[in-house]
Subunit: 237 residues, 2 copies
């Protein structure tokens, strides 16, 4: 049985996403929700806490919980809209090409980034992402073989995470990311459709499981005009 507060969160999140409850409106009060779901107020509050954390609502003491507008960053100052087109185009043609998948024994850099023993078998996976037939994203993944022994090109072409979570029962817990801009290497220029772009946005991320083991290290290179990162952040200090 799914946890109660999670179920309430899922339900309310869906109602907000589908605009059954629209931005600017108030959610039912905590007491009303408590009755509706025949639960306790604390449980409702846990669900609301999640909604707040993920940018769905803002809680106002004495008033209630207002639904926030989704994403909606006010218009960009310049007339540039290329990145908006990109975000809209998530539904457009996206193609993933596995350019290499091999299992190596960790050494030097790989061993360092995965923080594992020398010689530990690790997958090295290279994927090229094409948006509208242009190769604009190039991903290099390193992951512990031990945790995903049955990795194949087919799986790699899909979502690795689905495979991990649904097939292997592993659960990703948290990640650390870094975004920088670097010169395109010869390899990048050879394999990507870079045109005259000389620099790439590089996203390096370390992905951890629930037990804090570092599971995956990824370096994702993006052609600058096709890169967009959106973030919602609350303040805790």
């Amino acid at each position: 049985m799914e946890k109660k507060f999670q179920a309430i969160y899922d339900l309310l999140a869906k109602e907000i996403q589908t605009e059954k409850i629209k931005a600017g409106q108030l959610l039912p009060s905590e007491n009303e929700l408590t009755e509706r779901f025949t639960t306790s107020r604390e449980t409702v509050r846990k669900a609301l806490q999640l909604l707040s954390q993920n940018g769905y609502i803002q809680k106002l003491q004495g008033k209630g919980s207002v639904v926030l507008e989704q994403d909606k960053l006010p218009l960009p100052v310049s007339g540039l809209t290329s990145f908006k087109e990109l975000s809209r185009s998530m539904s457009q043609k996206v193609e993933t090409i596995v350019t290499s998948l091999s299992c190596k024994n960790a050494h030097g850099l790989i061993q360092q980034v995965l923080q594992c023993e020398e010689g530990t078998p690790v997958w090295e996976l290279h994927r090229l992402r094409k948006l509208d037939n242009e190769a604009v994203i190039y991903d290099k993944d390193f992951l512990l073989n031990e945790l995903a022994p049955g990795l194949t090109e087919e799986i790699a072409g899909d979502s690795i995470y689905d495979y991990l979570e649904k097939e292997l029962g592993l659960s990703i817990s948290y990640a650390k990311k870094e975004v920088v801009v670097e010169e395109a290497q010869a390899e990048d220029k050879a394999i990507m459709d870079l045109g005259s772009y000389q620099q790439l946005v590089v996203v390096r991320s370390a992905v951890y499981l629930e037990d804090t083991t570092l599971f995956q290290y990824t370096e994702s290179k993006h052609r600058p005009d096709k890169f967009r990162f959106v973030d919602f952040a609350r303040r805790t200090k």
Copy 2:
């Protein structure tokens, strides 16, 4: 009086930051903490929830709360270290120059991004950030005059947020951000030390107060080699 769970959070966060409790170690159990702070377990759990959210600890059912390493993204793959130098250099010479501060009546784009009435008085603030005597960051801020009527160049040269929170009692609650790469404009080239860089990392952010009013809109342009964005994210789906 400060809230209890907040106080516990602050104390534990400090202990982790100063490495009184080191990465890899376990925090005292919830029951022990409950005793130490003469409080209830739920209150301790609220504090731990905050620590978890902010990447200080990972909770393991049945075991305890392990302290995570701070930031520590495994080594970058390439030999490039310029951005690391930058992050280290936060203590190096940083200089802020207010290049313009004026109060205008909102119209067109400004009115649009601040989502206010036509004609509402708004501050327009331009600041140039110099790192080691190089002008590498250029910020344009728009903020509602109504909420910060006493803004001056001196304050703007400092931290605006300190002024807002400590002087005006306003509290920033959340922000939406977008990171993209765009061509440097003529103005950017004129005012920044760009060298041969033709593109800039642009961070656009909308800052909201607790009552969900959009208070500030910022466009921050960074010379690519001096830009670095680090993120810790937990998974909620």
